[in-house]
Amino acid sequence: MDETVAEFIKRTILKIPMTEMMTILKAWDFLPENQLQTVNFRQRKESLVQDLVLLCESKRASLRDAALLDIIYTQFHRHQKVWDVFQMSKEPGEDVDLFDMERFKSSFEKILRRALKNVTVSFRDAEENAVWIRIAWGTQYRKPNQYKPVYVVYYSQTPYAFTSFCHLKSNTPLLSQALTVASNHHKIVKMDLRSRYLDSLKAIVFKQYNQKFETHNSTMPLQETLELDMHMDSRIIHENRIEKERVQRVTQETFGDYPQPRLEFAQYKLETKFKSDFHGGILAERKEPLRCLIKFSSPHLLEALKSLAPAGIADAPLSPLLTCIPNKGMNYFKIRDK
C-alpha cells in the first residue's frame, strides 16, 4: 500500500470520534466483520488507529477505498462543511429525462479527466436516488490534494446540486460544466444560498419545509397555545391581549407551524442612496450610493426571526426581506435603488 494512502487512511480514521468508529467502519465495509472483532476497541485511539491501518495494509487498501472512507466520514459530519447550492436548467420542451446513474457517473468523470489529468473522483450512492461525489483536485504538474476535496451531492432528475465550499475557485467552472452536461442540463447558476446544514438547504430548494396539510383526518389546533397562556393564573391580567393575539396570528401566517429550516446567517448588501426626511442633512446631498453590509447571525436564524415579534423585540409583520428567505431560497441579498 502506498505510503500516502496509508497516511491518508490514518488521518481519516483519527478524525472519527470513538463513539462512531464501529458504525463508520461497518458502513465502509472494507474490513470484514471477523477481522474487526480481532481488534481491541478499548485501547487508546492512537494504538487503535495503528492496528486498523495495519489491517488495511494487509488487505491492500487503495486510494479508491480511502476516498470512500472519507466520503462516509463527511456524510456523518456534513455540518463541518459549508454548502453552496447550484441550480441547473434545461431548454423548454426537452425530452423526458431518462437519467441513468452509471452513465452520469462515467460522463461526469470523463469531463473532469479530459480537462485535468490529476484528479481523483469517487462516488457513493445515497438514499433517495442521490449520489455523493468526492473530487480531489490536482494541477497539471501536481498530484491531487486528498486533504482538500470538494463534495457534490446530486439528487437524480432534480435541477439542484449541493457543493461543499471550495477554496480553489478556479475549478468551479469545470465542476459546473461536468455537472450540467452529465445530468442533461444546459445552464447552471449559483444560488445566493449557503449554509452548513445540507438537509435544510435541501428542504428549502425542494420546498419540503412546510409539510403540514389540512385534511379531514386531522384537526387543526388553532389558537390553542395562546389560550393556554391566558388561563395560567387568573390573577394575571394581560393588558395587551388583543395586540398579542394579532402578533401571534401574523407570526403564524408568515412562519407557519412547522420547524424552520436551519440557516446560520442572512446577509444584506446595500447600495442605496441615503433617504431622509430632513432636508439639508449631511448625507442628503450625497449623490453616490452608500455601501454597507448587514449580517444577521444565529445558531438557528429562522427560528430566531420567528420569535422576534412574539418576544416584543420587533413589530409584526416583519420586513419581507427577512421573511422571504426560505420562499425565495436566498440568504444573500443585494439591495440597490431601482
Partner: protein
C-alpha cells in the same frame, strides 16, 4: 418664567405657598354653600338606586320561581332535545367519516382559511399508495401556497400550463403523473423486495423510476446465464415501459431457444407490470420443477 426670577417676592417656594393659600381660599368660597345641596342630591340618588335594586331582586325571584315551576312540567321536552342532539351528533360523525373516506376516490379536498387543500391519493392495482397534497390559495391569480409533490415531478410545468385557465385539467394532469410515478415505484419496490432471488445484481433506478436496469435469471437457482434488461418509460403518465431491451450474455447466445426466450421476455415486460412478469417466471419455474419430479 418671570416669577422664578422675581427674588423680591421670595423665590419659587414662596410663590408655591402663595398659590396654595389662594387655592384654599377659593375652594372655601365655592364649597360651603353647594355642599349641602350636593349631599342631599346624593342622598336622594342612593334612595332611588336602592328602590330599583329591590325591584329587580323581586323580579329575579319571581322569574326563578316561574322557571322552576315550568321545568318540572318540561322534562319530556328536554329529553326530546337530547335525542335530537344525539341524532345531529351521529349525522356529524357520519359526515366526517364520509369526508375522510373521500380519500379513496383518489382526489379529495378540504376548505382552508385561504382556499383549499387538495389531496391526491395514489393507487396501483388496488393498492393504496402515498398521498400528495397541494395547498391552493384562492386569489387572482390562483397560486400554490405549499405542497408535498416530489421535486422531480414537473409541477411547475403543469401549473404554468393549466393552473390559471383550467384547474380541473391541472388536477387531473397532476393526478396522472403522480399515479403513474407511484405505480412505477411500486413495481420497482416489489421487484427489489419480493423477487430479489431472481436478480443477479442490484436494481438500478432513478428518482422518477423511469429507467430501470437489472440483470435477472429465470430460475433463482441460477443454472442459466442471466439476462440483462433495460426498461425505459418515456411517457411519464404510464406505468408500462415504452422501450424494452433484453440482452442475453451467455455463450450460446446464437441458439434459437434463448433467442425465443429473449423475445418472449421482451413482450412480457412490454405488456405486464414488473412484479407480474416475475410472478409468472416463478410459476413457470414451479411448473418445471413439478414436471421434473413427476
Amino acid at each position: 418664567m418671570e416669577w422664578a426670577n422675581d427674588k423680591s417676592k421670595g423665590g419659587v417656594l414662596a410663590h408655591l405657598e402663595r398659590l396654595e393659600t389662594q387655592m384654599s381660599r377659593s375652594c372655601k368660597n365655592l364649597e360651603d354653600p353647594p355642599r349641602e345641596t350636593a349631599e342631599s342630591d346624593l342622598g336622594t340618588k342612593i334612595h332611588k338606586l336602592r328602590c330599583l335594586r329591590d325591584k329587580l331582586r323581586a323580579e329575579v325571584k319571581q322569574r326563578q320561581a316561574r322557571i322552576k315551576a315550568s321545568t318540572a312540567n318540561a322534562e319530556p321536552d328536554q329529553t326530546l332535545e337530547i335525542s335530537e342532539q344525539e341524532a345531529v351528533g351521529g349525522k356529524e360523525e357520519n359526515m366526517k367519516a364520509i369526508l375522510q373516506a373521500y380519500r379513496f376516490t383518489g382526489l379529495s379536498g378540504k376548505r382552508t382559511s385561504r382556499g383549499v387543500c387538495v389531496c391526491i391519493s395514489t393507487a396501483f392495482e388496488g393498492n393504496l399508495l402515498d398521498s400528495y397534497f397541494v395547498d391552493l390559495v384562492i386569489q387572482k391569480p390562483l397560486r400554490i401556497h405549499h405542497h408535498s409533490v416530489p421535486v422531480f415531478i414537473p409541477l411547475e410545468e403543469i401549473s404554468a400550463k393549466y393552473l390559471q385557465t383550467n384547474i380541473q385539467h391541472f388536477l387531473f394532469c397532476l393526478c396522472e403523473y403522480l399515479n403513474a410515478y407511484a405505480g412505477r415505484k411500486y413495481q420497482a419496490d416489489q421487484l427489489q423486495r419480493d423477487f430479489a432471488a431472481f436478480l443477479a445484481g442490484p436494481l438500478q433506478r432513478n428518482s422518477l423510476c423511469n429507467l430501470l436496469s437489472f440483470t435477472y435469471k429465470v430460475e433463482p437457482q441460477g443454472r442459466s446465464f442471466p439476462f440483462c434488461a433495460r426498461l425505459l418509460y418515456k411517457d411519464l403518465t404510464t406505468t408500462l415501459p415504452t422501450d424494452v431491451t433484453i440482452t442475453y450474455q451467455g455463450t450460446d447466445a446464437s441458439s434459437t431457444s434463448w433467442e425465443e426466450q429473449r423475445a418472449s421476455h421482451e413482450n412480457l415486460f412490454f405488456t405486464k407490470p414488473l412484479h407480474q412478469v416475475f410472478t409468472s417466471f416463478a410459476r413457470n419455474g414451479e411448473r418445471l420443477d413439478m414436471s421434473l419430479v413427476s
